[in-house]
């Protein structure tokens, strides 16, 4: 299967290892992975700020960049939710683009649900020693139906003990531009999330969206807490031992 990797802007800029982990997982499952150079971002900052003109322009470029792939897969429920649910709605009045957007929407998948639901991956060959709790990122959970898939694969990682935290389905307070526009509310929310992580006894929190993870890791780092923050794909690709989010490279 020819898979186009939707890198996501955050993985591209902040944490390429997440995208490399996605490539490894997809290739191990037998996919031929390509990375179109015409992609930048899914356009959520414009879309969620009410700038539908720019959101449409960016969507058109993504749609064109991923023409012809059997599947379009990205390591983010949020970005892939935008491709699947928001792009068709953006072109409600434009039949030609609407059809292309619908085609992309039908081929778009969040990484973990693609591995488990489409490729029927049962387990991955990886090791991570430690207690891990999984944070359900909102868009992945509610827009893309990602809940059991990451848990299933994480449970199969050697040495990994999966524990559930309380309030795992509660928002971490990232919310894109929300976290910089309303930092007080956002900080209260991420502190609530961190309290649940700490109470779970896990030394590592994993999640499927870099936005949430940067927010959680950034606050954990500021407060000097000994919790590692990693993307689920990194754990599953056997890259969990490399420096976690907010840890210096080479440490």
């Amino acid at each position: 299967m020819r898979v186009g990797l939707f890198v996501t802007c955050l993985a591209d800029l902040m944490r390429p290892s997440v995208a490399f982990a996605a490539v490894k997982l997809l290739e191990d499952a037998g996919c031929m992975v390509e990375v179109p150079a015409g992609q930048t971002c899914c356009g959520q900052p414009a879309l969620n700020s009410g700038d539908s003109v720019d959101a449409r322009a960016i969507a058109q470029r993504v749609i064109a960049a991923f023409d012809g792939f059997d599947a379009v897969v990205g390591p983010s429920g949020s970005c892939m939710g935008t491709l699947r649910h928001d792009y068709p709605a953006l072109f409600a009045d434009d039949p030609a683009w609407r059809a292309r957007a619908e085609s992309l929407a039908q081929r778009s998948h969040e990484l973990l649900s693609f591995l488990v639901d489409v490729l029927k991956v049962e387990r991955v060959d990886a090791r991570y020693d430690g207690k891990v709790t999984y944070h359900d990122s909102c868009a992945g959970l509610r827009e893309m139906g990602v809940r059991d898939q990451p848990r299933k694969l994480l449970a199969g990682v050697q040495g990994l003990e999966l524990v559930e935290m309380r309030g795992t389905e509660e928002c971490c307070g990232f919310g894109g531009t929300f976290c910089v526009k309303y930092p007080e509310i956002s900080t209260k929310m991420v502190d609530d999330k961190i309290a649940h992580i700490e109470a779970s006894g896990a030394g590592t929190v994993a999640g499927g969206d870099l936005g949430c993870l940067l927010n959680i890791a950034g606050r954990i780092k500021r407060r000097g807490l000994p919790v590692r923050v990693v993307h689920t794909a990194e754990l599953l690709a056997g890259m969990g031992a490399r420096p976690s989010i907010g840890e210096p490279e080479g440490s």
């Binding site: 390429p16 930048t40 900052p45 700038d51 470029r61 907010g246 490279e249």
Partner: protein
Amino acid sequence: MQASGTTFPQRVSVAIVDKRLQAALARASGGLAQRRAALVAALPEFEALRERARCVKEHVLANLDGYLERYEEQVTRRGGQVHWAATAEDARAIILEICRKANARTVTKGKSMVSEEIGINPALEAAGYEVIETDLGEYIIQLAKEPPSHIIMPAVHMTRQQVGDLFDEHHRPLGYTKHLTEVSEMVDEARQVLRGHYFRADVGITGGNFLVAETGSSIIVTNEGNGDLTQTLARVHIVTSGIERVVPTLEDATTFLRLLARSATGQETECYTTVSTGPRRADDLDGPQEYHVVLVDNGRSKMLGGPFREMLRCIRCGACLNHCPVYTSIGGHAYGWVYPGPMGSVLTPLINGIDKAYDLPNACTLNGRCQAVCPVKIPLPGLLRELRRQQFESGLTPAPIRWALQVWAALAKRARLYHWATRIAIPLLSRLGRRRGALSWLPLAGGWTGTRDLPAPQGGTFQQAWRKRRRGQR
């Protein structure tokens, strides 16, 4: 009732450090969400009920004129009177006129969010009427001279201690001298104080959870029975309700009642479900002599034909508030008007003007939990985003945000330029944070770095590393 001169961010700053408020919010919302979840899990047909409710509401909204005419016909046939109020001001004038004609002095009130929306209490008081709220929560905030902070639990922001002190102050002159610390004692004392008012009242005002077109009935649900006493013992009963609250039949109403109790308070059914159909008939033992329904539009018919129609499905259960991480972080008063939380963030700009409540649609992470629990499946995050779009198009979005978006979008639309620019910028940023693995300060990023570090980029961009790897493989 409009908010006083403070801004949303100012009210947030106060709420977030208010320890008593935070304790009250944490206690209330967590418990309600759990109770609801348990009941939903125990009812296999809950999803089917939601879908049915959504369909009934959509059908009613598509035929609203017909159902409202049918409803008025039935109310009139049973001796009641329907009044149409296009605005909040009209609604106040109609109610004042009914009270004047009835030679009223004392008005009791059951809980009604529409009555809050139209600001009837200040209008009645200004006209010299004695107004007594009979719902315990509403009674408490009336004593405290505060607006409700939740559409179902108006005093949810207050602690038991605060209520005890309030009762000391207001009940002592009535002969109640004991300082109360237990909730059950407070309920008893409030009941005793309220009991006399019901009998003295000339007019009783209630809301209407559902209006039944088939029978001309209005239905209210309460847990205290105060609504029954308010509407049965006064000479005149006034129902205030929004025009969107009509349902075709009594049977349809039962669908909503099952959803409402579970979604609102986590109960299978509320303690009292009361159906009122017209004034007292010749052979009735009790009931009001006059029965009036004030149907309030106040912006609703404008929503009907536009992108916000789905908001008119709302049955005011409050589930979206209880599950909203923003509401449970800041409480209802921070929103500045009578409707807080996700439903309020949609309604307030629509009723008061999108330029009057810029922050409300924006102070949301679009996490979607509200939509997931909404008993009538209102796509609240989508509606909030549509409000943002309208704000952006009317130039209400602040200039710095617009500029930043423009710069970013100019890059994001040009992949080649974007990859070139990020290939230069990202390694620089990475080097700045290399030692700690994170940056504790960045220019123009105070919103992030005020309370959080920014994890440093790993090094170069993925796009660059990927092309390099591919070249190496060839």
